[in-house]
Each structure stands twice: as C-alpha cells, then as structure tokens.
Amino acid sequence: MKTLTFALLLARFAWPQNDTGAVSGIVRELSSGQPVPDAEVAVGRTDRNGKTDAEGRYSILNVPAGQQRVTATAPRLSQHIFPRYVTKMVTVAPGQEAAGVDFGLEMPGSIAGRILDQNREPMPGIQVVLVAREYSLGSLRYVYSVMATTDDDGAYVLHNVRPGRAFLLMARKRERKMDAISPAPVDPKLRKPAFAPTFYPGTPQRDGAQLLTLRAGEQREGVDLRILRSPSYCAEGVVQAGAGPQAFPIQLEDVHASSGASGDGATFIMPTMGNTGDDGKVRLCNLAPGEYRLTVSNNRTSAAPTIFATASFTIVDRDLRNLTVVAKPVVAVAGEVTWHGEAPDPPLTQKLTVGLEPLTRAPWRGEMTSSNPSIPGSFAMPSVLADAYRIRLNGLPNDIYLKEMTYGGVDVRTEPLLAGSVADSTLRIVLARDGGNIAAKVADKDGNAVGDARVLVLPITVPSEAALAATIVSGQCDQVGVWNSNALAPGKYYVLALARPHDNSPESIGKLWGSRTHFKEIDIAPKSSVQVTLAPMDLN
C-alpha cells in the first residue's frame, strides 16, 4: 500500500506545473530525535499541506515557487496540549524538490502542584497562572501564559508550558461575578481576611518570586503554594457618563499581569464581572492590598460599547472611598500617511492596513479599529474606545520603511497609543524611500551555509533594553542561509545571526544587550544594499 502511494506521488510529480516545486523532510521531537507522526506541515498562505507518516516523513507537492513560510505543527494530543509549531523559510525552485526540510518540535512541559491555605486545607477553584515577562512597546510587561484551576483537592496541572522560557507562577482566587454593593461588614476588622494573589514560592509581589524554567517535555511536580491572606478592604465609588445616573457593566482585575497578545500568542483571562447599581454606585470588597483596574463600558449585544473607561486604583491599608470613574464616549482617531522627501512617480497603488490592537483585553465583537489608507492618504477610525493600543501596520512595500509614527507627539512605535489622551491629535505615519537593505548570508567558520538561522538587526544608538526590544528587526534565513531585509532607515546597526529563535523576554534581550558590542557593525547608506556574511552565535 505504501509503495503504491509513493508511486502515485512520483507520477504526479513527474508533470509539475511550470511554476511549482516540492518540499519534503522529516519532523522529529527535538531532544529525543524521535519521529513525530501525524504532525501537520503547511505552506503559509496556500492550501498546500500534508501530514507526517509513522516515520515522521512528509512531502508536499505543487508548492508555488519562491520563498515560502513552511510550518510544522505538533499533532493535537488533547484539549489542553495546545499545538506547538516551528516555522522555516524555504526557497522553492520551479520543478525541483526542496528535500531535507526537517523540523525539530519541542515537547511542551507541564507543572503540577497543590494550593493550600493557612490551615493546610486544599483550596478548590483557585486560578493558577503562568506569567511571562517580556519587553513590549518600551517597557517590561507581565502577560498571562497558560492557566489552570484547582480541583477539590487543591491540585492543578498547567499543560503546554513552553520549555526554556522563564515564568512566574501566580495563584489567586478570582470570582466570576461581583455585586454592585458588596455586603461585606463596614468594619474591616469584622471581615474575613482576603486571599492575596500569591507568587511562587509564597510572596505577594512579583519581585520576590522565583522563576520557573522547564526543559523540553519536563513534567515538574510538587510546585505547591500556600496562598497568602491579608486584611480585606473595599473600594467605594461611582461611575458617571454625563447622562445622569445609570447602571453600567463593570470588570475588575488585579494588575499583577494582564491579558493580551504577546510573542507567545495571546491569552485572555476573564476579569470579575458585574454591574454598578442603578445610581452608578459600587462597593467592591474582598480586596487585598495591591493595584487594581476597573473597566467600565455600556452593554450592547453583538456590537462594541459606545462608552468606555478604565480606572486604576491602589489599595494600601484602608478602604478607598470616593473613587470616581467617568466613562468617555468613543473617540475618533484621524490619521495621515505622508512621504518623507519626494513622493514616488507614478504614485503607489498599494494600500496600507493600519490596525489598533487593544493592549490588555480581547477586542469586543464588532469593534472595528482598522483602516486602509492610500499612500499617501488620510484615514479615520470614527469610534475608538478610550484605551491603550498597539498599532499593526501591514502592506508596507519591501523598499519602503516606516520613518515616524506619532500620536499626540508620542512615538507609538515604542509606546502604546492612548486613544483620546490628547485632544485633536492625529496618528501621523511618515514613510520614506531612501532606505537601504541588508543581504545576509549565514555560514559556519568553514564557509558551509547554515539554514534556518535568525538574523537580528539592532540600531546602534538605543538607550535601554526595553528600547532595544522595541526596535529589533529580525528575520529567518532560508534553507541555504540566505536572508534579505526589507528597507531599513539609513544609519548604523549591529547585525548578528543566532541558530535558535530569540524572544522579548528579559533573559533573551539582556543577552543581546550585554554582548551587543561584539556584534558586527554596519552602516547602511541611503538606497544601498549591504552584503554581510555571518556565523551563527551562541549567546549562552
């Protein structure tokens, strides 16, 4: 049966379409080298894909010629084991097979343990969350990774823990719902102690917490934690929106870490939900000392809210009174795309896609925050919630670079866009055509090409690790070690090649920062191409 299949494949491949080739290889588990059957291998932006056989082999035919992103995804073993994937850039030549495109998949790890209270009683229904630290938009942010809930024995298992990455582990009691006016006793001394969000191995703050780093496939057990108790406080206040007293949907969350997209994907954890009273009043209780975020909106079925606000408050050692949150109507974000220097003649026909991505929450259904301006051109996003956003730009031609992007004077390439924070501000996108590019070739010291390496380009003048993380340009070489950058602003850069992927964690960025003076220095002149040959480095 297998022979027959193979013969059929050969037969089909004997008459390839003019402009297609093939990709084949083996998918293995990285540390053991064992073949991975049933892994899916797909060619990006095409419907060409295949699955590995019992020996981990795959072969994909009729792949369009040119540079293709090929992704191998681990088989879906279970609901909780989110598939891990590896991508490669492969240059496919017409009528030829790119053989030996082999993938090494890392098996995710798991962390198990029990959550107890001060009586050593198991705590059911506790949220256990891994928190990733990463530089994003100019600062160190704490974002949720995987999550589990304890069972009746206080036990939890966190699946799909990314190996080699340092995480904090946090346990907390998060209620699904809250009352507008909590019935908690007026006197704090008559209240039950609050459950404080607790970091492993038993501290209320991120700073004293221990980092957990797993090996591929490691099943770490016994990560037990006693949850901390603290005095319990309330925050009282009112939500207003200008149109008289009314009830508003509200969401409350601690801000030790936040939901949102990160380099590892996106994890969203439901905040505690509730409504204010009909008079807009709230009394939120069972709060341990710490910082909280209250989000206010108006409820509209299957459409985004039209008013919105977030308010941060800090509980120290007493109840908080007179908290006032003013929900703001949606704001219009106007924008313009302009050329630095002369405009091309004839003008470009492509359009840019400008998207606003909420930084710490999932977008609402029907929340439309993208626009497709011409280059040059103006655009408007008429109803943006007064929140913090990351800007995604797509459709920038290869020979053009983003010179500036500001909103109300803030560089929103390296800081979040705070919609409505500055009156009458415009999102200014300035593009330039005088950029140069880097043509990199990665080879070992004997001159043999090294496929799949990452090439990183770092501006020489950056003041901090956070700024470095915000300005790195990187790409992946194809199977013969070739990578060509898109247009970059003229200037001086460090350039290096890494055999392994990098990320925006403080560990990864710290290594780059610490050894940056050892990297190759290049000067990109306007409209030039700089050829570099790099040997892959190991920063460990």
Binding site: R76, S78, Q79, N119, D151, P185, D187, P289
Partner: protein
C-alpha cells in the same frame, strides 16, 4: 507598596460596652464528624442589611466572635465543594451561644479513560450526568465535567448528593471543536459517547455525603465505524460563514457523539461514527465559537433530521436550513407575591454544537416574543420571581416537530415548612430537606433555633423528604436513606407545620 500580610485573625471583636454577646461554634463534616477547616461563616443580623461579621473556621473547625449586639441572627456556613448550611439563633449578652454545624461534602469520581490496549483516550471529556426529572443531563459546571490529561486521567468533583452516570465523549467532541476550531475522530475509535461501564447498562453512582469513587476506568472499545455526509443548503439569500453540525444519540442528546464544521459550500462529513440512531443538527452561519460550540447571530438558520447508521456509510444527506422560529411566552402568576421582573433562560436539552442559550428579561404583565429559536427542545427556567413565587415543574419548550405559537408558564405561590424538632437537645440537630419531585434541585441543610424550630421558606410546591439527626452524631451518610425521615407534600401558599422526632 506598603502592603501588610498578616496571620489570619480568626476571632473578631467589637470593643464596645454596648455589644457583648459572643458567638462560637464548630463545623464538622457530615460523613465523619471531622473538623471542617477554612469554612466561611457569614453572620447576618435580622433586619440589618449587609453582613455583621465574616468569620472563617480554624484548623479545628472552630469559629468565634465577640462583642456582637444582642438580637436575632442568621448564620450561613459554606465551603467550596460542600453544601451550604444555615441556622438561626438568638444572641444575648447573658448567654454565650455555641453552635455545632454539619457540612455535607460533595462527592468525587475519578479514574482513567482507556482504549482496549490500555492507551489513554486523549482529548476525551468526561461528564457526571445527574439523573432526576427528565433525561440525565451534562452540565458545564466546574467539577462536573473534566478533560482527560495525557495519561487519560480525569477527576469529577463538586457533586452534591444525588445519582450520577459517568460518560466520556471522545473524538470530535463539541468542547474540543468549540475550543480549538478543529476536532477529529480518534484513530481506530472514531467519535462517540461511552458510559461507565457500558452504554447498554450504565451504572449510577449514588452520592450522599463526601463519597469518593476512585479508579473508575472507562473503557472505549473499538467498533465498526462509518461516515455520515451530505450538505446543508439554504433557500434564502446566501450569507457568509459556515454551518456547524452535531450528531447526537436520540436516547442521550445532551452530549453529541460528534461535531463538525461544514465547508463554505455546505458540504459536511462526520467520520468514525458507530452504528446507532441519531438526530443530526445544523446551525449557522457561525459568527464565532466557544466551548459549547458556534456563536450564532439572530439571522441564524437551522435544520434537523433523523439519521440511522447501520452497516454502511450514510451519504448524500441534504438539510435545508430555515430561519429560526418565534414563540410568545406568557407567564401566569398568582394575584400577589410574585415580583414584576423576572429573568427567562432557555437552554437546549440537545447538544447542537452551538450556543443556543437565550436569556431575556421578562416583565410579568407582558407577553415576551422570542425570535430566532432553533427547532430544538429547550428547557425553560424563570428566575428572579422572588422568594414567594415559583414555577412548579420543569417546563420544556419542544420545537423539534415544528413551530408553536405560544407557551404559557404558570407560577404559583411558594410553599414553606415550619419544622419543630421534638425531644431533648433539640437545638443541637441538623435538618436536611430533599426535593423528591426533582432530585436535581439543591439539598437544603439547616440548624434549628433554641426552641428546635426552623422554617424552610420559598419552596417549590411538590414532594419533599425531611430528616434530622444530632449534630454531634458520628455516623455518616443519611441524606439519601429513603427509609429515614418523613415525606411531606408541600402545597402552594400555606406553610406546612411538621414535628420531627430525632432518631
């Protein structure tokens, strides 16, 4: 941040000469008489809004508060994975009050889901299905369903007293499809629902108080497997988006045997389906997805048909999806006692791999018309009627055979039972009330006051069993003994008075 993290203060005091009553007590579990640590003790003073004090039991199960104002109090004791208990008591400066309360622990069922060769059935979802009024139902409540891990292990908990069937859904389950957008049959096993120990004779587990059933191994055996394929068509205007389909056994429709997503042109194909008689459900276009399946818009279309899988593949099925139906609901209420605003919740008894749940505020005087309903069997719940008013029986809105114009739901005044415990030490008793008409209703646990009295109010009219035992009795597991206690038919309106002897 200058946060202070302190050892837990278990005793509270209000240092004032005017307040001098003390309250103390101990909480034990019902099945062993052992201390229940870390239970919440909430103290409410009659006539005063809000909580007077929040306490927590220590490692010996004890709680203590002093300096409380004289008066009548309600004390609620609760803990996760336990049935809450409440007691009324008089507190006065002259006599310290000491309470003894029993908490009934919920049960747990755990084990593995394995193939014949002992390999785990990864990706399976295990449900504890409560038997009671109507067909056993699968709930998406924490603890009552569980994902098996990579070794095939599962653990069900938070199971109040009652009878449960245990079943594993494997392969292309609704939960997996809804969570990941992609779910397929297990090689060699296909998709299906496997009850413990067999689908022909499911074994019920009886939980009365804190039972744990370990090592309950669900074996999924290979079966001959077939495919079911066809296409969904719509006669109306073409809307973007795809249809979601579910195949559910006609005996047990609350968990689908398999779920799948149709292609853009409406073509669908289930693989790995064991022989059986099924209902095939289609709904779409999907606007998103969640753990109970596709999210649907108000313009969603639906179809259902009966499919028999015998000894060959079923091909060429055609389903014509039609717009949803409209039904007008009216609520008949007694002349007084019911609130004027209620909340209506419709949930599908059948697993359509779609979010068919509908919720709407319900103003009692006005008929409510719900549009866009699927040709499904819906369970109708009316909540928020107030303590004095109930919808007596579970109401089912059956649209499976076609539209109906209206549904009348009748509410009646709530009933009540005044219990008086006879004999010595009457205040040291624990009283349990079980709804026998619908055993899936929560159990109520209470402690009588110093005169041995307690009132269970806001009862749905129907048959109940009332039983009592000494709070410090050591023997266990009595809530489900049908021999113990007295049966009481609670009518609407007038309270029933019962004198209950202690055993």
């Amino acid at each position: 941040m200058r946060a202070r993290f302190v050892p837990v203060a278990l005793a509270v005091s209000v240092a004032s000469a005017a307040f001098s009553a003390t309250l103390s007590g101990r909480v034990v579990n019902d099945h062993e008489g052992a201390a229940v640590a870390s239970a919440d003790v909430r103290v409410f003073r009659t006539g005063i809004p809000g909580l007077t004090a929040e306490l927590e039991t220590d490692s010996e199960g004890r709680f203590y508060a002093e300096g409380l104002p004289d008066g009548e109090y309600r004390i609620e004791v609760s803990k996760l994975n336990h049935i809450a208990s409440s007691v009324r008591t008089q507190l006065s400066a002259s006599t310290p009050t000491t309470l003894r309360l029993r908490l009934i622990r919920c049960g747990a069922i755990s084990g593995r889901v394995l193939q014949a060769g002992g390999q785990p059935v990864t990706g399976a979802v295990v449900y504890a299905m409560r038997t009671g009024a109507g067909a056993p139902r699968a709930e998406q409540t924490p603890g009552r369903f569980a994902h098996v891990d990579s070794q095939g292990r599962y653990r069900l908990f938070n199971l109040p007293p009652g009878q449960y069937l245990v079943a594993a859904a494997f392969g292309a389950t609704t939960v997996r499809l809804g969570s990941s957008g992609d779910a397929g049959a297990v090689p060699g096993l296909g998709s299906g629902v496997q009850f413990y120990p067999s689908n022909a004779r499911p074994q019920p587990f009886t939980i009365t108080s804190g039972e744990a059933f370990p090592n309950i191994e669900i074996s999924v055996l290979p079966s001959s497997l077939y495919s079911v394929s066809g296409a969904v068509s719509t006669s109306g205007p073409k809307t973007p988006g795809v249809f979601w389909l579910a195949l559910a056994s006609i005996e047990q429709p609350s968990v689908a045997v398999a779920a799948t997503i149709a292609k853009e042109d409406g073509a669908f194909r289930f693989t790995g389906i064991p022989p059986g008689i099924y209902d095939l459900f289609a709904s779409g276009p999907a606007t998103g997805r969640g753990s109970s399946g596709a999210s649907l818009s108000k313009e969603a279309r639906f179809a259902r048909t009966r499919v028999t899988v015998g000894s060959q593949d079923v091909e060429g099925l055609t389903l014509d999806a039609s717009p949803g139906m409209s039904v007008t609901l009216r609520l008949r209420t007694p002349p007084s006692g019911c609130g004027s605003q209620a909340q209506l919740t419709l949930t599908s008894v059948e697993d359509w791999a779609a979010e068919l749940i509908r919720q709407s505020p319900f103003t009692l005087a006005e008929p409510l018309t719900l549009a866009g309903l699927a040709p499904a069997r819906y369970r109708v719940a009316v909540t928020g009627l107030g303590e004095a008013c109930h919808v007596p029986q579970e109401t089912v809105l059956d649209l499976s055979a076609g539209a109906r114009e209206q549904l009348i739901i009748t509410a009646v005044p709530a009933g009540a039972i005044h219990v008086t415990i006879a004999g010595e030490a009457k205040s040291a008793a624990t009283v349990v009330l079980v709804d026998v008409t619908d055993r899936s209703q929560p159990l109520r646990v209470a402690g009588p006051d110093a005169k041995g009295q307690y009132t269970f109010g806001s009862l749905r009219p129907g048959r109940y069993r009332l039983s009592a035992k000494m709070s410090d009795a050591q023997q266990s597991r009595w809530t489900d003994e049908t021999s113990a206690g007295v049966f009481i038919d609670v009518p609407a309106g007038e309270p029933v008075r019962v004198e209950l002897p202690l055993p």
